[in-house]
């Protein structure tokens, strides 16, 4: 057939990110750290807004941040964890992405 070109997809090494996308392995933690600047009601509000949590759940995580220094908010695959990280950073919370053991 005229004009038909066979395309061969190059082989690429699968990264952890690719594997995570495929398997949905929840290997990433979104961690919120305590800081002396964000108001506690503000942190609660942000958790409710970003995760859609009820007030008691959001307050429990907020208190954990305040009293224990940090709280693991969610354990997700890379894409979801990255998404939540972006949303929380937009509110200037001190959050990081950590790999689960």
């Amino acid at each position: 057939m005229a004009g038909t070109i066979e395309i061969t997809r190059p082989e690429t090494e699968k990264t952890t990110r690719d594997q995570t996308r495929e398997t949905g392995t929840p290997g990433y933690l979104v961690v919120c750290w305590n800081d002396p600047v964000n108001l506690m009601p503000y942190v609660t509000h942000v958790f409710r807004t970003v995760f859609g949590w009820d007030r008691p759940v959001a307050e429990r995580h907020m208190r954990e941040v305040h009293e224990k220094g940090k709280s693991v908010l969610v354990r997700e695959n890379f894409e979801k964890a990255e998404f939540y990280l972006h949303q929380l950073r937009k509110f200037s919370l001190h959050v990081t992405l950590e790999t689960a053991e």
Binding site: T15, T16, R17, T20, Y28, V31, W33, P36, V37, N38, L39, P41, Y42, H45, T49, F78, E82, L85, H86, R89, K90, F91, S92, H94, T96, L97, E98, T99
Partner: protein
């Protein structure tokens, strides 16, 4: 700044002339505080995947900041949402998106001011020395505390902190 009306899709606040001026001045200070370069992870052994996401995050936050600034300008120049009253005060009407935008921008200013003050821990009694150079940061820090407090109380439905008794004007 007082909440005078709460409905499912909007909050209406009344601001005195001085409060309105203070809010505008505070919001204009956003440009004084560059975005902090907070690392995406504390894990020194974080993989390339996590580290490579840092650039995406920085770009996303930078773009978001531009969008938020435009949104705040739109809010404060829209006579339907920010209206001068015959009394000389102002009426500010916030939809859900407006409330979150205002909170985000105020808090970004708060964090920026706090960093310029040397990251003091007020809860532990640390007080920065106020100088001519950092006076505006301290002022912005205090003002954002006030405005955020009123907004958060209104959003949480806490009548004690945000509402004023009597009928709306």
């Amino acid at each position: 700044m007082k909440l005078i009306l709460r409905e499912s899709d909007r909050l209406v606040f009344r601001l005195s002339k001085r409060e309105h001026e203070a809010l505008l001045t505070t919001l204009r200070m956003s440009a004084l505080f560059p975005l902090g370069a907070q690392p995406i992870s504390r894990d020194a052994a974080a993989g390339d995947v996590v580290r490579s996401a840092q650039e995406d995050l920085n770009q996303a936050l930078s773009d978001h900041r531009v969008e938020q600034a435009a949104g705040i300008t739109g809010l404060l120049t829209d006579p339907l949402r920010c209206a001068c009253q015959a009394s000389g005060g102002w009426q500010l009407t916030l939809g859900p998106a407006d409330s979150d935008r205002l909170l985000q921008v105020l808090n970004e200013i708060r964090v920026g001011a706090w960093e310029k003050l040397g990251r003091p821990d007020f809860e532990k009694g640390t007080r920065p020395e106020i100088t001519e150079e950092n006076f505006l940061c301290f002022w912005a820090f205090q003002l954002t505390d006030l405005f955020e407090g009123v907004l958060l109380a209104a959003l949480a439905g806490d009548p004690d902190e945000s509402e004023e008794s009597g009928p709306p004007e």
